[in-house]
């Protein structure tokens, strides 16, 4: 059977190109033997990757971002889980209001949030700006994301599972450990990944709240003034691109497995 040409197929190809084409230029130029990101390409080289590794301030910024990202994702998820449990499992007085309040950072522009936090940190608390203040700002931003992911997961499973566990002799804590947590695990993993990526990628709050230690986005922004340092940045960007693609694929596999085990065959 011959397939007729489908104009929608062309549309889909263009759509994907539009989305991902610019991003793919980054690894391309990172392997180009030249200091400027322009065509025509001059030849293949890995030297930008070597330069990148030797750029200690860039590596420090990367390390800072990883530390802040890891710390924030774990803390935000740990704080969001009990809140999500309370709001999905129990009749909390004014639960709706509490939820809307917790979701506020999602809708407040981050520039407003950043300025507000800066005033709080410097004027009210008189704390020095550091990676700690950056992490605190990220935490505030990440908790609502973690809540959203966890709540949708917790709402998705039958409450009688937890009741059955209690009925079979398990205490509240034991039920949490043996039933709630394993079932919420895909949500917990999604929350960890999402919070990490938000923190890793965050610019505005970091820019305002950081002291002398830069996170990666802030550092990269400062480097744009020096064209000859661009290839190193492209090399790092390419590596992060590969890293995030792997993360997203892993997250999707975990999520799919979670869905499969929760929809036992129809009765």
């Amino acid at each position: 059977m011959t397939r007729r040409f489908d104009p929608l197929f062309l549309y889909a190809v263009l759509f994907v190109l539009f989305l991902y084409g610019p991003m793919l230029l980054m690894p391309l130029f990172s392997l180009n033997d030249g200091n400027f990101a322009t065509f025509p390409l001059k030849g293949f080289t890995l030297r930008h990757y070597g330069e990148m590794a030797q750029n200690t301030s860039m590596m420090t910024a990367l390390k800072n971002s990883l530390i802040v990202g890891l710390g924030v994702s774990v803390t935000a998820t740990a704080l969001a889980l009990p809140a999500a449990l309370a709001l999905t499992r129990y009749r909390v007085p004014a639960g709706g209001a509490i939820l809307s309040f917790m979701m506020l950072p999602l809708v407040v522009p981050s520039i407003v949030l950043a300025v507000g936090l800066l005033i709080v940190v410097l004027r009210l608390l008189s704390l020095p700006l550091s990676l700690w203040t950056v992490a605190a700002g990220h935490l505030m931003l990440c908790i609502p994301f973690g809540m959203t992911v966890l709540m949708s997961r917790l709402e998705g499973f039958d409450k009688s599972l937890e009741e059955a566990s209690r009925d079979l002799g398990a205490s509240g804590w034991s039920t949490f450990r043996r039933v709630t947590l394993p079932l919420a695990a895909p949500g917990v993993i999604s929350s960890l990944l999402l919070c990490f990526i938000i923190s890793f990628d965050e610019f505005v709050i970091s820019f305002f709240l950081t002291g002398t230690d830069n996170t990666l986005p802030v550092f990269l922004f400062s480097q744009l003034r020096f064209p000859n340092r661009l290839p190193g940045t492209l090399a790092l960007g390419s590596l992060i691109l590969v890293g995030s693609a792997v993360l997203v694929i892993v997250a999707e596999i975990v999520r799919k497995r979670g869905v499969a085990s929760d929809n036992p065959g129809d009765i």
């Binding site: 499973f157 039958d158 009688s160 599972l161 009741e163 059955a164 566990s165 209690r166 009925d167 079979l168 002799g169 398990a170 205490s171 034991s174 043996r178 039933v179 394993p182 079932l183 499969a260 085990s261 929760d262 929809n263 036992p264 065959g265 009765i267």
Partner: protein, 360 residues
Amino acid sequence: MDDPIIRIEGVEKSFGSFQALKDIRFDIARGEFFSLLGASGCGKTTLLRILAGIEQPTRGQLTIDGKPMAGVPANRRPTNMVFQSYAIFPHLTVRENIGYGLVYQNLTKAEAKARTDEAIELVKLTGLDDRSAHQLSGGQRQRVALARALVCRPKVLLLDEPLSALDKKLREEMQQELRSLQRTVGITFVFVTHDQEEALTLSDRIAVMSGGRVLQIDTPEGLYERPNCREVAEFVGTMNLFPAQVQQVDGGQVIADGRALGNLVGRSPDRPVASGEAILMALRPEKIEISAAGAAGPNSVAGRVASVSYLGDRSHYLVAVDGLTAPVVVYRSNSERTAVAAGAEVALSWSDADALVLAR
């Protein structure tokens, strides 16, 4: 009742302004198969959840096996429950599901394994140990839920409409199995259902509930033959109701004026009946004789057959009678050879002892 396994004294439950249970009080005997029967929203599941300790009563007292249950959480009660959704843990295998509660019973590993093996065998799931929940059929999931509860050796097993999700054939099979299982293990079963036939088939005694109250507690035969009110009469089986007015109470008999139906004579109820009281004469469809002869005397009315449904062993007749809004339902065994066709003028009659007197 001496030494009941469950004693419920004045239990009430409110959710906000909605009163789900009103002054519930009754006992359940040891080893009994006891059913809570009622339409959805009648409070039967709420009562079961209170027995399990998942919900707390707003008022009243509950005693299980001689111990007051106030403040005793679900995990410390001698009860286990089979949930309507079965609540099989999706992340665990069949064996892990069934052994879930044994962790809390201070058993050695070998003892726990032996108990689990025994339970798997009891519910005929041998060989499916390593399956996970989503690889099981509805009937198998139901067996896992049963085994998981029974393996804990509860004093009372609570079952929340465990058969409602199964198809008819499987449901009937499981009814038989449940009943024989209950006799084997000798545990008290408290069974919630909205299916009156299921309740009649399985139970030693049944509590019929409506609007948060218990209307009547009796054996299946007692409920069917001697319902104490119109609601029970109509919920359990089919009942023909003829409005009438009491003329005379004479020993065991009530003689009433049925207007267009003539004089109606029925069996006196347990409660006192006064002359002049408006009542309902209640008759089960199979207690009514259908004949071609003309109507004469009390408990005999003329009518015309509106429709006939042939059901193999018996036929169902709807007979239109002047003075009644609803047609009279009559069941007749097909072992009688004389056929009655739709449109035929017939006489309906019944014996005094089969007519019940219910409050209007």
